[in-house]
């Protein structure tokens, strides 16, 4: 055996735990769920092949449309909001002194490590229309706040606002990107008389466009898969399930209900594959657009 061949086998050897994990815990389950999506399967009784019936059902299911609309609404508001606020905070941090930057970096990141279940509970406390802190502050400003947690029209905007709670990771990514922008580009722009806005638009944004694109993709995918905090707030207990508001029914929550509440594993698998296709489609569009907007220094 040649040295190169030995090296190749050694590489496979080192990679094998991941490969086995990938096959058993990701590829295998994905294939299984694809097969299940064409069956009527409730875990306990026999599995019946139903062809495309599950997919036909989901196209006619008003709850699929409703939960998808809720999820899209959330994504469309959450992703730009998170990116804009995170970028603003990162730019402030980039201007701060070394010691204070470290302190604030920690402060901004802390909410990210808060369990999402706790965030869900916190949402109910802070956004309660009658006694919540948010409406208390709005009331102080003379604004009569809405019933964020119980009025169908305000539930999703409330969840979007609450989602800004955990933008710490995005801030850290932007901060790292900002710190990598060469100072001489700013100096050159300043010498040419560029205003702060022009420097931001023509230097900062192109130079961190790779980071912006990365967070756009990641935040979009995680938004489309939102579950934990909304489930905790609106469906987590038997009592909350009783009062479950359609406005808070996100796609993955509906998928979970179908699978583990109603034991419709086949239908839930079809729902999972629809979401997979939607995410793939959106990601492909984003990647396509990125060719026009993302600047890679090495290119």
């Amino acid at each position: 055996m040649t040295a190169r061949r030995r090296e190749t086998w050694a590489a496979y050897g080192f990679l094998s735990p991941w490969i086995v994990g990938f096959l058993v815990f990701l590829a295998g389950p994905m294939v299984a769920s694809l097969v299940l999506s064409f069956t009527d399967y409730d875990v306990l009784t026999s599995t019946d092949f139903v062809g495309g019936e599950n997919y036909r059902m989901l196209l006619a299911d008003p709850k699929v449309r409703g939960s998808l609309a809720n999820t899209m609404f959330y994504t469309v508001l959450h992703v730009p909001l998170t990116m804009a606020v995170a970028l603003g905070l990162a730019m402030l941090l980039a201007r701060a002194g070394r010691r204070s930057a470290g302190f604030f970096r920690t402060i901004f990141y802390l909410p990210t490590i808060t369990p999402k279940v706790a965030v869900g509970v916190l949402f109910l406390l802070l956004f309660n229309g009658q006694v919540g802190l948010v409406n208390g502050v709005l009331g102080f400003l003379g604004i009569n706040g809405p019933d964020w947690t119980s009025d169908g029209a305000w539930i999703k905007p409330g969840i979007v606002l609450m989602s800004a709670w955990s933008l710490g990771s995005t801030v850290i990514i932007y901060l790292a990107a900002l710190q990598n922008v060469p100072r001489d580009l700013y100096e050159a722009a300043e010498m040419d008389g560029a205003s702060p806005w022009a420097r931001f638009r023509a230097v900062t944004v192109p130079m961190i466009s790779g980071a912006l694109f990365f967070t756009l993709i990641i935040n979009t995918i995680s938004s489309l898969q939102t579950f934990d905090e909304v489930y905790t707030a609106f469906f987590g207990s038997a009592n909350q399930q009783t009062y479950g508001n359609d406005a808070a029914l996100f796609y993955v929550i509906y998928l979970f209900q179908q699978a583990f509440q109603f034991l419709h594993m086949g239908y839930a698998s079809a729902l999972a594959w629809l979401l997979f296709l939607i995410i793939m489609l959106i990601t492909l569009v984003q990647v396509g657009l990125s060719r026009r907007f993302v600047y890679y220094e090495s290119e």
Partner: protein, 450 residues
């Protein structure tokens, strides 16, 4: 992330189920009923003296074998995975309303043999509790607690509104609306007191029954959500909420209650009255024993008491490795002697805390007779003593929803309908018509396999 978890869980279940089908997983040992084993269970914890005392008694009954508590509430996901993989627990403790669903899917076994072998006297249990655990004439669970719904009235609010708690009744709906308006308090444009909380969606079965209707036929096979009596009950209860500012404000305010604490809605005069499960009496005696409270039966439009009862039950999963000992264990767990011992333990614990004991309302008639005759003593709070007597009398009017083959889907259908009406998306008749279709389809599908 979550999708990945679900895919992984579904597939893991599939893989293990296939393996089990090949005889690779699961216990094949026969349960002689004499071997020394440790019974496993799901859904039960020994968090208080009532649970612990009965648990100890049941363990003594199967000594030298014993059971190990799971210390967690019932999880459908966990239970299904265990059953599908051929590694079910010996016992499962779950809501009685879920028994039908698992019975149809053969995840739990009929208790016919168990009852016969252990000579379990079914006459000791309250009929409504047994009915809730029975599907198609077959018993699938031994009933535990007997949760009654009674009317709880805040005397302070009633006095302030110029109303008499003693004559307050849910029988006269126009009068109930008028009383609700009087009891409701608004300060600074915000709700300061809910006058009357009809507790919908969850108590719609109670209101429907009170109006002479039912959500489902007695055999549990026909949804009756479009029954005019049900539609009328929903229309009325929603009107009560709308009379108090509408659902959004109503729920926001109610969510702010310190329900289990010393500043609960009765202690802080945030609620006039509501129908509620009897366990809440124990909460109030513990958290705010000085509240001025009147408890009355919930009455139907014919003036008669109506008591919708629910509770948990013990069932034996299919392929339970030690079904014979499990049967013996649940027999002891639910028999009168264990309940009486548990009540004595609770009474002693409450006495040590200097708090009153208002009894246990169980599914076992014989146990209740002894508990309320010999164990429960006057609390020193006339309101609570009278409340206990009211609950005991109301128990005679107990009814339960029949066991359903698609209990979860049926419940989700009508509760979603109520929520759509509450949020103003649909009118009651329209919402219930939609729910009727969904519920009937679910029942038909589930029953077709039974």
């Amino acid at each position: 992330m979550f999708i990945r978890s679900i895919r992984a869980a579904v597939s893991a279940v599939l893989v293990v189920a296939l393996a089990a089908g090949c005889g690779g997983v699961g216990s094949s040992g026969k349960d002689s009923g004499n071997a020394t084993v440790t019974l496993t269970m799901m859904g039960f914890g020994t968090g208080d003296e009532v649970a612990q005392t009965r648990f100890d008694a049941a363990n003594a009954a199967i000594a030298p074998s014993s059971a190990k508590a799971s210390e967690g509430s019932f999880s459908a996901q966990q239970f299904l995975s265990a059953v599908a993989s051929g590694s079910p627990p010996d016992l499962v403790y779950l809501e009685r309303r879920l028994l039908g669903t698992y019975a149809v899917k053969k995840a739990i076994v009929p208790l016919t043999d168990c009852v016969e072998r252990e000579k379990i006297d079914l006459g000791q249990f309250r009929p409504a509790a047994v009915a809730e655990a029975t599907l198609g004439g077959t018993l699938y669970g031994l009933p535990e607690f007997y949760n009654n719904r009674v009317l709880m009235i805040n005397d302070t609010a009633f006095t302030e509104a110029g109303l008499d708690p003693a004559t307050f009744s849910t029988a006269d709906w126009p009068a109930l609306t008028a009383a609700t308006r009087k009891l409701t308090a608004v300060r600074g444009g915000k709700l300061a007191r809910i006058g009357f909380d009809p507790k919908i969606p969850e108590f719609l079965p109670l209101w429907a029954h009170a109006n002479g209707g039912a959500l489902v036929s007695e055999d549990g096979k026909k949804a009756q959500l479009t029954d005019p009596k049900v539609v009328e009950a929903l229309t009325f209860t929603v009107s009560l909420i709308n009379a108090q500012g509408g659902w959004a404000k109503f729920k926001s305010f109610r969510d702010s209650f310190d329900f289990f604490g010393a500043k609960n809605q009765f202690a802080t005069d945030q609620l006039g009255a509501f129908p509620m499960e009897d366990f809440y009496l124990n909460v109030l005696t513990e958290s705010s024993p000085d509240v001025k409270l009147t408890v009355a039966p919930f009455r139907g439009v014919d003036g008669q008491p109506v008591d919708w009862i629910t509770g948990n039950a013990w069932a034996i999963p299919a392929k339970s490795p030690h079904a014979a000992q499990a049967c013996k264990w649940i027999k002891t767990m639910t028999e009168s002697g264990s309940w009486i011992a548990a009540a004595k333990a609770r009474a002693a614990a409450r006495q040590a805390e200097g708090a009153p004991f208002t009894g246990l309302f169980t599914g076992n008639v014989k146990a209740d007779e002894v508990i309320f005759k010999d164990v429960v003593k006057p609390t020193g709070h006339p309101g609570f003593d009278k409340a206990v007597q009211t609950v005991l009398q109301t128990q005679q009017a107990g009814f339960s929803e029949p066991a359903l083959a698609a209990g979860e889907e049926f419940k989700a259908a009508w509760q979603d309908a109520v929520n759509r009406v509450l949020s103003g998306k649909q009118r009651p008749a329209e919402a219930l018509a939609q729910a009727q279709q969904q519920a009937q389809a679910a029942l038909d599908k589930a029953n077709s396999g039974s």
